[in-house]
């Protein structure tokens, strides 16, 4: 943790904003409806693109007749996959560090063959979206349906045709990990429990759908892209590569972004096509996904089947875990992050909180003719946590032990760090014991158990579920860069002091509604000594910010925040150096507080920053000889000593199950987590709560339903059930603080903790309630039907 000359940490620097629930600077603007999302950006000569999407899960395109569409009113162009491929090169979603990962070249608009329902293969650009859709209806397509690979369980069968014949079969990736002597551990165990867990395919539903507007200004040689996206520099790099433009000819701007959750960090065919169309037509072209398109073409996630077993000693020690994960990822591994990551995370994370030394895991990633899956909030975490925590509860019940006590017994001790988890992950400092203790007190565990028992006597069936978890945050280049992805893991911040003493901070991390800009403003204000009201933050513009990765994988605060802290400190040093020269004082005796240069020892004001700014910018002739003020400072940061900053936490859920209807009522939810330094308690708590709600969505409601032919059956908000406020419980959040020593601010990520643990907590609570019936569920979402089936009532 950073220490000032005066012995102060940054937390207790005078006028520190760290650890305070400072309101988000953009909240008022957004609430007043003054946000600027892609669809709000006005542009002359704008063309609207609509895409013809495959109605088949797998089919050859025999013919495509576009003449009638081209003649429709308002139509600017009709472009087929073959025509677009002349401008936009295809990509393959593989990376070097996932050994053996295979995929096939994917075009922005499918050429000759479509591989999932919703894959775009032809585009119409018109004066309005409605006119483009009118024209779409007149495109005549002749398909030859091909066998569709829908069920991941049979995707690897010898009789199942390979979606991409060149690959030979549908296995995209396989990873096997075998640590210790698993067979011996199971052989000698007093108790072995086994379960097959099924995780429904679901997706992240953003309030603002995917949207992109690209404008090719031939005279400037500049493609300007307004994009609802998390990683503008990555998009710049990929557009330059696949549209054969120099990097400097592409500018990506992400102004307000209405939610992302990992959905908006991938390369989408329709978005690449939109940019290619702007190049081809030499005019701005806009694509805004409608809700049906979103369900059909946004990345999906989960869709895993995990068979796993856990070995226990008679006293309740976890001895070993053995698991087999199968996941279906659609017809292509998604570019550029690949679709192998979720399964890989499941292998890395399962059982991560615990001390067992024997672990075997196999993950197989198979291709299928459904929408592609890729990284969505808490990638792999909810699966890994459910598998381990479900088995822990099964083992506790089998051994007649309290599930809380079994967790207390098995977690890695708080004084054992640094150490490595059983899968080989490096853990700097975690706090499972402290978190469990805090949770136990917070939920009054014993009293809740007593209430549960008393109500059971009256025929009211409530359950308590627990879920301990670890979370990957602050990724270094180990996540993607080492595999060859041009995704920056370092981020930067440039800070400028203006004449009136205000600050402009440009950061490469981005804002999608989670409050990144608020965090950066707090840190910059604290570091520079300028009141937060005078700090303006710029993000989401490849031409105006330092180069960096953007916001994903819970890295905005921990990595972007540290860059801002270092830049702010550097600017403050520059300021006091110049002030010292003017005031004929030792710069080390000066500080900046409340927007003024002060005497560090007494706090006495020596000079307001506005006066310093006046001199530096307008009367530099009066500065002492040899003094050259540099009131701009830039710093970059990337974690170097650990590939990831792991965090930990534990959640609990209290539910009531109606054993006649199978309905589950969520009564209360608790989360204790440790994200290191809590920069803004309000934002962290809301991240946790939002994450829990999305986790509950996967546990109880959300499911992309496909039929046997690969047709998506519920592509609307009426049929795809997102979690809504009315069904959500009160969520209590508390923290344990174990700062990372990798950075001075000590912040780790908090974006995925909620989603990581919520499904396991809820499902375990349901099973706790069902235990007197001898019933249990292991398939998400846990619908009333799933509960009724478990109870044998239908």
């Amino acid at each position: 943790m950073s220490t000032d000359p005066g012995g102060l940490t940054f937390l207790d620097r005078p006028n520190s904003y760290i650890g305070r629930s400072v309101p988000r600077p953009n909240a008022r603007r957004l609430l007043e409806g003054r946000g600027v999302y892609v669809d709000d950006v006005a542009m002359a000569r704008l063309g609207h693109v609509a895409f013809l999407r495959s109605p088949h899960a797998h089919a050859r395109i025999l013919s495509l007749e576009t003449g009638a569409a081209r003649a429709m009113p308002g139509v600017i162009a009709v472009v087929t996959g073959r025509e677009l491929a002349e401008v936009c090169t295809p990509w393959i979603g593989v990376l070097g560090h996932f050994k053996g990962l295979r995929s096939a070249p994917q075009h922005a608009l499918a050429v000759d063959r479509v591989t999932w329902v919703g894959e775009p293969f032809c585009a119409v650009v018109a004066r309005s979206r409605a006119e483009a859709e009118d024209a779409l209806a007149l495109i005549a397509v002749e398909f030859e349906p091909l066998p569709a690979v829908v069920d991941m369980e049979t995707a690897l069968d010898p009789g199942t045709p390979a979606i991409h014949p060149d690959l030979g079969d549908n296995l995209a990736f396989e990873r096997v990990l075998d640590v210790g002597d698993v067979d011996a551990a199971f052989r000698d165990a007093a108790c072995v429990v086994e379960e097959t867990f099924r995780f429904g395919r679901h997706t992240g539903v953003c309030l603002e759908p995917r949207a992109i507007m690209a404008d090719w200004a031939a005279a400037d040689g500049m493609l300007t892209v307004h994009h609802s996206f998390q990683a503008p520099h990555m998009m710049q790099d990929i557009l330059a590569k696949h549209l054969s433009l120099p990097e400097g000819a592409v500018r990506v701007i992400c102004r307000d972004v209405g939610g992302s959750f990992g959905i908006k960090v991938h390369i989408y065919p329709d978005e690449m096509a939109t940019c290619a169309l702007a190049l081809m037509l030499k005019r701005p072209v806009k694509f805004v996904a409608d809700r049906l398109e979103s369900f059909q073409s946004d990345i999906h996630a989960r869709d895993h089947r995990v068979t796993a077993r856990m070995a226990f000693s008679a006293e309740g020690d976890i001895l070993a875990v053995d698991m087999d994960d199968l996941t279906g990822i659609g017809p292509y591994s998604v570019y550029p992050r690949t679709s192998a990551v979720e399964a890989n995370q499941v292998v890395n994370l399962t059982g991560g909180p615990y001390r067992h030394r024997h672990y075997r895991a196999r993950a197989r990633v198979v291709l299928q003719n459904k929408a592609p899956t890729c990284q969505y909030r808490a990638v792999g975490h909810p699966i890994a946590t459910m598998v381990a925590e479900g088995l822990v509860d099964l083992g506790a019940a089998r051994l007649g032990l309290d599930p809380f006590a079994v967790r207390e017994r098995n977690v890695i001790r708080d004084d054992a760090y640094p150490c490595a988890g059983v899968s080989g992950i490096k853990l700097e400092t975690l706090s499972h014991q402290a978190a469990l203790a805090k949770l136990k007190a917070m939920m009054d565990y014993e009293a809740l158990r007593a209430e549960q028992a008393a109500l059971r006597e009256r025929g009211i069936h409530r359950g308590i579920g627990l879920a301990a978890f670890i979370e990957i945050t602050n990724p270094s280049a180990a996540f993607y860069g080492v595999g060859g992805a041009r995704i920056s893991s370092q981020d930067g911040c440039t800070i400028r002091l203006d004449p009136q003493g205000g600050i402009v901070a440009a950061v490469s991390v981005t804002e999608q509604g989670q409050g990144t800009e608020a965090i950066i403003a707090q840190i910059v204000a604290t570091a520079t000594g300028v009141p937060i009201e005078k700090v303006r933050v710029i993000s989401g513009d490849t031409q105006a910010t330092p180069y960096g990765g953007g916001t994903w994988a819970s890295r905005g605060a921990g990595i972007g925040g540290e860059a801002a802290w270092q830049a702010g400190k550097a600017l403050r040093e520059n300021v006091v150096a110049v002030a010292g020269a003017i005031l004929q004082a030792d710069p080390a005796s000066l500080d900046v507080r409340g927007g003024a240069v002060v005497d560090a020892a007494t706090g006495t004001e020596r000079m307001p920053l506005a006066e310093l700014g006046r001199i530096v910018y307008f009367r530099p002739d009066t500065l002492p000889p040899g003094v050259q003020p540099e009131f701009v400072a830039t710093r970059h940061y990337v974690p170097k000593d650990y590939p990831f900053a792991f965090t930990n936490g534990v959640q609990a859920s209290y539910v009531e199950v109606d054993p006649e209807t199978g309905f589950v009522r969520l009564l209360k939810h608790w989360c204790v987590e440790d994200c290191g330094t809590v920069l803004n308690p309000l934002l962290v708590d809301e991240q946790i709560r939002g994450g829990i709600v999305q986790g509950i969505g996967g546990a109880l409601f959300e499911h992309c339903l496909y039929d046997a032919d690969g047709q998506l059956l519920n592509g609307s908000m009426a049929d795809y059930l997102v979690p809504m406020a009315g069904e959500m419980p009160d969520i209590a959040v508390a923290h344990v603080v174990s700062p990372t020593a990798s950075s001075e601010i000590g912040a780790k990520g908090a974006g995925e903790a909620g989603t990581a643990g919520a499904p396991a907590a809820v499902v375990n609570a349901i099973n706790d309630a069902l235990r007197p019936f001898g019933a249990r569920v292991a398939r998400q979402p846990v619908t009333p039907e799933v509960v009724l089936e478990a109870l044998g009532l239908i």
Binding site: F701, S716, A718, P723, T783, I794
Partner: protein, 290 residues
């Protein structure tokens, strides 16, 4: 998606609206609250050439009582139906159903006439009409027709409405002093379409329930009066009534729910509704949530 082009008319009288519908035949559709029709247009599931907006026609909305009948104008919004003092006093079943209808924004725009005319089998008002022995009043180019609810709902989105006819009102007989009612609906989230729903009415006397009407929704291609189950309830045999449902309901195939599950849920809510109608000395209070 964006709606295809359509023409729009906003007639100021019912006669004018009927004339427009007559002139344009199947190319024209009436627009009431728009909560289903506009979605259908935006999804390009329908492409009518002309929308005939009923919202400017005077006299189509409002609630009144005369001669033992409560008349609800077709353009009365869901919210206004369920919160109207007359409805809450005379037709508490409707007030109980209101909180289950979608969400406030939809209740504020959607109309009872639109709901009845659409005949979505998973919605509340058609079942309430069946349970409450309502009469659907319609106007066509020739004359007014009055159709008993039992003869009105014919199938999936199919009613006895003839082309060119408009629903103008729904009339409910005022229940007698011995009337009891029950309402239960199960949906995944509050406001979702029913997995299983039941609107029930009966008269309660010393010997139990008589005149039992059990209108299930979400359990077939239309709201269904379960007559055999009602007879069993009148005989005091709730279990028998639950058993009879398999012969009376025809739960739809649904990607998210098996028919057997819906049937099970129908039995559960029948048990709960029947239990309340049989046992409780007084009816539940009318809910206040709107």
């Amino acid at each position: 998606m964006k709606a295809p082009d359509f023409a729009y008319a906003r007639p100021a009288s019912l006669d004018e609206a009927l004339a427009l519908l007559a002139a344009h035949g199947g190319d024209a559709v009436p627009l009431a609250g728009g909560q289903s029709l506009i979605t259908t247009l935006n999804m390009r599931l329908a492409a009518p050439a002309l929308l005939v907006d009923l919202n400017a026609i005077p006299g189509l909305a409002g609630i009144s009582e005369a001669d033992g009948v409560v008349r609800i104008g077709a353009m009365t919004r869901h919210r206004d139906v369920g919160t109207d003092p007359l409805v809450r006093e005379r037709l508490p079943l409707l007030a109980a159903a209101l909180p289950h209808i979608a969400h406030p924004a939809i209740r504020n725009r959607g109309t009872i006439g639109g709901s009845v005319a659409l005949a979505d089998p998973a919605t509340e008002w058609p079942a309430c009409c069946l349970a409450g022995e309502a009469t659907i009043v319609v106007r066509g180019p020739q004359a007014e027709r009055r159709i008993a609810a039992e003869n009105f709902f014919l199938g999936l989105y199919t009613t006895a409405l003839e082309p060119g006819e408009i629903v103008t009102a729904v009339e409910f007989p005022v229940p007698g002093p011995d009337a009891v009612w029950g309402f239960e609906e199960l949906s995944r989230r509050h406001g979702d379409y029913a997995l299983a729903g039941l609107a029930a009415t009966a008269r309660r006397g010393a010997g139990g329930l008589t005149g039992v009407r059990l209108a299930f929704f979400g359990l077939a291609d239309r709201p269904v009066l379960a007559r055999a189950a009602a007879a069993a309830i009148e005989a005091g045999d709730v279990k028998g009534a639950q058993g009879a449902l398999s012969g009376e309901l025809d739960p739809p195939e649904d990607p998210a729910l098996r028919p057997a599950t819906r049937l099970h849920l129908a039995r559960v809510i029948l048990g709960r509704v029947a239990g309340r109608m049989l046992d409780k000395p007084a009816q539940d209070g009318v809910p206040h949530a709107v």
